[in-house]
Symmetry: C2
Subunit: 383 residues, 2 copies
């Protein structure tokens, strides 16, 4: 039996961050009822590969449609909530209350209901009502300021890290609230924010920023954010790049052995401080050796030899990565609505419990008849 069997979630979230949390809930066995406006949520875009983000983040959920501006829609939502454990929402703070569902009303509908909410900046403080998307949070949290090269502009991370960090923390928040309810009784509201979830990612750069008044520019390209590690960089392969990071002196010795570096026999370079003093020589020597090899040759040799190394894979390589396919993290799937695509399972695994079956993202409103058998025909037609 999956861990969240019998837990019912009413999911009002849209786009990436909130839906990622409810995807994890669904994969852990919860019954997730995704509530969308009659026209569908903003991420329902076309078919084929363009539908991939929607399919990724909405697997395992049922879809119902409600017009929350209408009295009928509000009544149907109240009925759903009366039999639910958790309502998950990523509206801006205050919006759910304006729709008629403040915490007092939610408690009257269902005293055991937990409200779990995610927003960009949290429900308090001067920025609480400001709109927040992933890049807004990257800017405000310092991710942009620390990404890129010293002689270039700030650069956004290509990864939607603030969204997925927000969603992962929201999943943890829901589980904490469920555990609390079972052990200690009522808990009305649990929340997280994208900016708080993203802040800890800056740990390496924060000490530099705080101690060196002139270190205005923390963009160190592909070198270590605090200038503390060498070798630590991107190095050329004959078919792209690899990242190599030697956080210990032992890593450096092994790297030198495995790449046959002459500098490896230089005893003055056995400690990190000495290597940092000659960082350009070290980087040049490593690059000269790696440039003759393919990414796969370097990755296999170094990683198997215990030296932290990653091949810089493009996304086509990532979705065909033999490790991710062998472990079932990714799998090829013929989506009933959107056609063949590679999809992912939850990053949280219970080896002794196994996985549930993969349930693809559902067509818009396909569960309306199940949950609203008496819904007005007009509302059904809209869906």
């Amino acid at each position: 039996m999956l861990p969240l069997y019998g837990i019912r979630i009413v999911d009002l979230t849209q786009v990436y961050s909130g839906p990622y949390a409810t995807f994890l809930l669904a994969e852990a066995g919860a019954e997730v009822i995704k509530v969308e406006p009659p026209e569908g949520e903003r991420l329902r875009l076309g078919t084929g590969a363009a539908a991939l983000p929607f399919a990724m983040f909405n697997a395992g959920k049922q879809s119902v449609t409600l017009d929350l501006a209408s009295d009928n829609g509000k009544q149907d939502l109240a009925a759903l909530l009366s039999a639910a454990d958790v309502i998950v929402e990523n509206f801006r703070p205050g919006v759910l209350a304006k729709l008629g569902f403040d915490d007092e009303r939610l408690g009257a509908i269902n005293p055991n209901l937990i409200r779990a909410s995610l927003s960009g900046f949290g429900s308090e403080g001067p920025y609480r009502s400001y709109p927040a998307l992933d890049v807004v949070i990257q800017a405000m949290s310092g991710v942009l300021a620390t990404t890129g090269f010293a002689d270039g502009p700030p650069v956004k991370a290509g990864a939607a890290l603030a969204d997925i960090l927000g969603g992962a923390h929201l999943y943890g928040a829901v589980l904490t609230a469920l555990l609390h309810r079972g052990r200690h009784g009522e808990v009305r509201h649990v929340e997280t924010s994208m900016i708080e979830a993203t802040y800890p990612t800056l740990a390496s750069s924060l000490p530099v920023a705080l101690t060196e008044p002139d270190a205005a520019n923390l963009r160190t390209g592909n070198r270590h954010g605090a200038g503390r590690v060498s070798p630590y960089n991107l190095y050329p392969a004959n078919d792209g790049h690899v990242a190599i990071i030697c956080t210990t002196d032992r890593h450096w010795q092994r790297l030198a052995e495995l790449l046959g570096l002459e500098l490896g026999s230089d005893r003055s370079l056995t400690d990190t401080r000495a290597r940092l003093a000659r960082i350009d020589d070290i980087d040049a020597a490593v690059a000269a050796a790696t440039a003759k090899l393919t990414r796969a040759e370097i990755f296999d040799r170094l990683a198997a030899g215990g030296v932290p190394c990653g091949a810089v894979q493009d996304l086509r390589e990532v979705v065909n990565d033999p490790h991710l396919l062998a472990t079932g993290a990714l799998f090829a799937f013929d989506h009933p609505e959107h056609g063949p695509m590679t999809l992912n399972r939850s990053a949280i695994r219970f080896p002794s419990l196994g996985r549930g079956p993969y349930r693809p993202s559902a067509p818009l409103g396909s569960a309306n008849a199940t949950f609203f058998p008496t819904q007005m025909p007009e509302a059904k037609a809209k869906a």
Copy 2:
């Protein structure tokens, strides 16, 4: 009462990812006993600001030291585990078993014990034993390939996103296992991996990579990863940069009003597709307007007006951000071991339960006398 009151965690993790998970557990009320080698874990570096990452990720925990290579150390660990709920570890897969604590032994010590583990690539598959640090995962998952500009090299995100994503998922994994144990009984092992936790961050770029055979280069600088949104870029301010993202036509109309853009009255630009066809004109017009203003003026005007906007803050500005300080996300603290620094609380909040007191990271081995009253004097001396 905090949600995890009475839950005891034995924490064998080091550096960022695992310790972040156990920091969240401690902040939610769990008793976390951090087990370090006699010389301390790798992240205990000096004092002052250099100690900030250690202090960030180890607040709320007690510290004990054990030499796990020795019989005494193994006995003391077994004694700790016999009275614990969860062991959390981020060794490479197989290392804990080699130390004498495979799952059979753990079950014999304590049949209710949950083992929660985090690794770079997971405990199965061809890369399972490869060393993994944040940048290794950024390379292998496609984060590097999608960060930077089309005419430049791949760039690492300055944020340690794979570490913190791994830790946040590990927290969720522990909570799921605790809930499962309470509802359904035994669960021996729960795990997550940094690469699986990071993969979903690439959602925006994956469709492009999969559908356009020639889109080898997905580095779009500060523009949208899938080329779908305009305006969406970094724009100059007279004291730095701001990020502005108009995901809806309404955002564009508001932006044009708030910045007084002449292009705002061009009816041919009311829809996204039309704006994308003239993306350079749009970006130039926005930049001409923003360049006259400060970041704060732009942020306040646009965000309050409902247009997603973020000021690019450097880290000194981030730790002094009035919003983060007002909400208590960050706070100034005089650390008893490391002096004055700005620290952070858990991103998961229970407004009705409040926070527990902040308990700073503990000196190495400071809880040895509590947990090992009969420990050999030599071991005590080492600590």
